[in-house]
Symmetry: C2
Subunit: 123 residues, 2 copies
Amino acid sequence: MGRRRALEYDCAIRDVLDRIGDAWSVLVIMELSKGPCRFNALRRVIEAISQRMLSVTLRNLERDGLVSRQVLDTSPPQVEYSLTQRGASLHGAISHLAHWAETHQPGIRTSRAAYDAKEPIAS
Amino acid sequence: MGRRRALEYDCAIRDVLDRIGDAWSVLVIMELSKGPCRFNALRRVIEAISQRMLSVTLRNLERDGLVSRQVLDTSPPQVEYSLTQRGASLHGAISHLAHWAETHQPGIRTSRAAYDAKEPIAS
DNA sequence: CTGTATCCTCGTCGATACTG
DNA sequence: CAGTATCGACGAGGATACAG
């Protein structure tokens, strides 16, 4: 799955990062945390995602029991995705990290700018 | 910097995940949280990492002000890396996620096994 | 010891076309 | 509407060689 396993070192955290470290999983989780959503509705909200990646991302999340997939018996058939309890729990944990990120983002941006200023693109 | 930016959507959290979502940053932070460490010492601890990736990872962490680089005036010259306060703070946030991971890993493994059992490798 | 530069492989993802 | 299959392009990263 994805990139080569780093080590046995800290399996648990790596498992999670392998899942949410990718570009889209977090966005999907964030969106689903607002409530259930159908496939194409998600596509519209997360504009930049390709059909393939949304499909892959949802399947992986479902596989880990973070998202549940409910086929609605309508015509044409619709599929509704929603966070499971575990998914909601992960959303909470992510929020914690997101809070850290928001708190420290200004400082990080400053650090980056300072660093880049000293190492001028090295052409 | 890795992959294409997803969206403006949730910049802060994406910034962090772009940094720690990769295979090595978390391991480096974990290791440095135990105390300062030199380049090759890190290499030995994180066996699977290539020289190049350790270098790249450390530089990125330094750029974000998460790790500080201290050149020791010895012969031959040595370089000691350590977590900054911000880095230590991030380590705390990661630990929170790691705790979630450890708590839920058994359930996730179970879910995966159940899922995979239903979708037999499709060869 | 602590890196950087180059090359090359291999996985990842977007585009496209097609199915239920 | 909700996907899957195939293909091709791109880029991350390992190996290696070299530099300070």
